[in-house]
Amino acid sequence: MQIVKLKLPAKRAAVRDPRHVVLALSGLCLLLCVVSILFGAAGFGIPSHIIFWQIRVPRTILALLVGGGLGLSGAALQGGLRNPLADPGLLGITGCAAVGAVAVFYWGLAQRFFPALPIGGMVGAGLGCLLLIGFAGRAPSGPSLILAGVGLSAISAALLALALTLAPNPFALAEITFWLMGGLDDRSLTHVALAAPPLLVGGVMLLRVGRRLDALSLGEATAATLGVPVASTLRLIAAGTALAVGAGAAVAGGIGFVGLVVPHLLRPLLGERPGALLPASVPAGAALLLMADILVRAAVLVLPVSQEPRLGVLTALLGAPFLVAIARKVAP
């Protein structure tokens, strides 16, 4: 009798300890912080006191906070909606946040009452989440959720253009590229103070849904028996996303694809469990956005451009190929 040798499947790379990954990514963030502080339009080197505190520090902190918030909300959305294409930008939530921020900024509300700016962004993002669930239904399949997101993105972009056309200041319409594609140029410590509290609160909310996401990944019915109802989990994710993405879009404009790319980059290292991805997605998103911001500053010094390219352009250049690759796997 012949012994047939069974062909075993290729051994999967061992899943790393999440704490090690978080530590390594945080170290990367620290390194990028140092580069970001030393680098800017005034050249490479230790900056003067004013440039350090008023320009480089706000920019670096915002890149970390907004990037971390975007990465975290992307991971939470992908886990909660059980859809590998979920991303606050793609689903139109960032666009709605931008509309809210624009409505508050260009009509002078944010001048009189500073916190109105992130509040406008958060209200916009919250409405966006509600509309998304409304369009897509309670248990949306992969494609139908993305379609709802595409519709919401289109509506929010149109509303954004309309709001900017009607704005009282004649320079407003030219600023549409900032609101559609984001940017961290000329931000100040005021913006950090405005965006940091909601970003941190939203981040904490999203970090706490890890166990619920793990239960959800077993299926809705099983999760319900474990005491994790889908509706309340989605509400928590929506609230955390509205806070983090809303405040981020209000000060940094519409940056997309960070939330899409970060979980996919982390899955080979940390496995498929959504709860494991959440803590690592914060430093991963922060590092990604900070890297993009440094590149954008380098572009001014290297290319013959009079102003920095938009941040969203770089993240889209990275994220769009990802999107195509993932979409092929999901719906071949």
Binding site: A42, P47, Y106, A172, F178
Partner: protein
């Protein structure tokens, strides 16, 4: 003798057809903010219509007076309905309207965008002549020269830059540059966008910014960034420097103080 006379008459008639309108116009429409202001100062009684921009206090020097002047939308239909003797226009904008008006035989005078005070003087004379009021043109020119001469000369011109919305700076050969030089400064603008960090790293002695508009935008908020708040600054109403004209000398006086 008769041939010579005929020849001279024919030559004069040809010259009349070829030249721009030679007799003074009495009923004039303006299609451009800059010509609005010139018309409003030189010959307000001859105005058939100005653009709606003339009444905007943020950009027009004659906004108060323009409330009494007739306004016309810069379209060929509305302009033709007024049957003007002359239409004043700028080099850009309303091209299709101007072409239509010329086709209908309406005389159109297109003036340029003066960037230096000499160019402003030349344009003032040209427009005043066409309007048939050369003495008023001379009067405005004298007032402008008086303001310019009043600016004290400086031994070591301090460095200054016009920093406008979105960081746009005055460059060599521009109107802002002429104003700064006339006020006794050295213009350190590049003519292109000047980044916030560049300004903070090498601050000029004086920053000249336009007045903050009533409503914010990212472009105009940039001028208030904390990084450049320490640089001494002078605020100039944009209505004085959007168009080059005798009122631009008032900007020089503001800076010279």
């Amino acid at each position: 003798m008769r041939n010579a006379a005929t020849f001279t008459v024919i030559l004069l008639m040809l010259m009349n057809f070829m030249a721009e309108p030679t007799q003074a116009a009495d009923w004039v429409v303006s299609l451009n903010l800059c010509t609005d202001q010139l018309l409003g100062l030189l010959a307000p009684e001859k105005i058939a219509g100005l653009t709606p921009l003339a009444r905007d206090p943020a950009i027009s020097y004659i906004s108060e007076a323009a409330k009494a002047f007739p306004i016309v939308r810069p379209s060929a239909e509305s302009v033709l309905a007024l049957m003007p003797d002359l239409v004043l226009a700028g080099p850009y904008g309303a091209q299709a309207t101007i072409a239509l008006l010329r086709e209908r035989g309406v005389p159109v005078l297109q003036v340029g965008l003066p960037q230096t005070f000499d160019a402003i003087r030349a344009q003032l004379r040209e427009v005043a002549d066409v309007l048939g009021v050369p003495e008023r043109g001379e009067h405005l020119e004298e007032e402008m020269d008086a303001l310019l001469d009043a600016a004290p000369p400086r031994l070591q011109p301090p460095r200054a830059v016009f920093w406008g919305a979105r960081g746009q700076s005055s460059g060599p050969g521009s109107l802002g540059d002429s104003v700064l030089t006339a006020a006794g400064f050295t213009d350190v603008g590049t003519g292109r966008r000047m980044a916030l960090e560049t300004l903070a790293a090498h601050p000029p002695d004086l920053l000249v910014v336009p007045e903050t508009p009533a409503f914010p935008s990212l472009a105009t908020d940039l001028l208030d960034h904390p990084a450049v708040r320490r640089i001494p600054r002078v605020v100039v109403p944009p209505s004085l420097i959007i168009c080059g004209g005798p009122w631009t000398a008032l900007a020089v006086r503001l800076l010279a103080e």
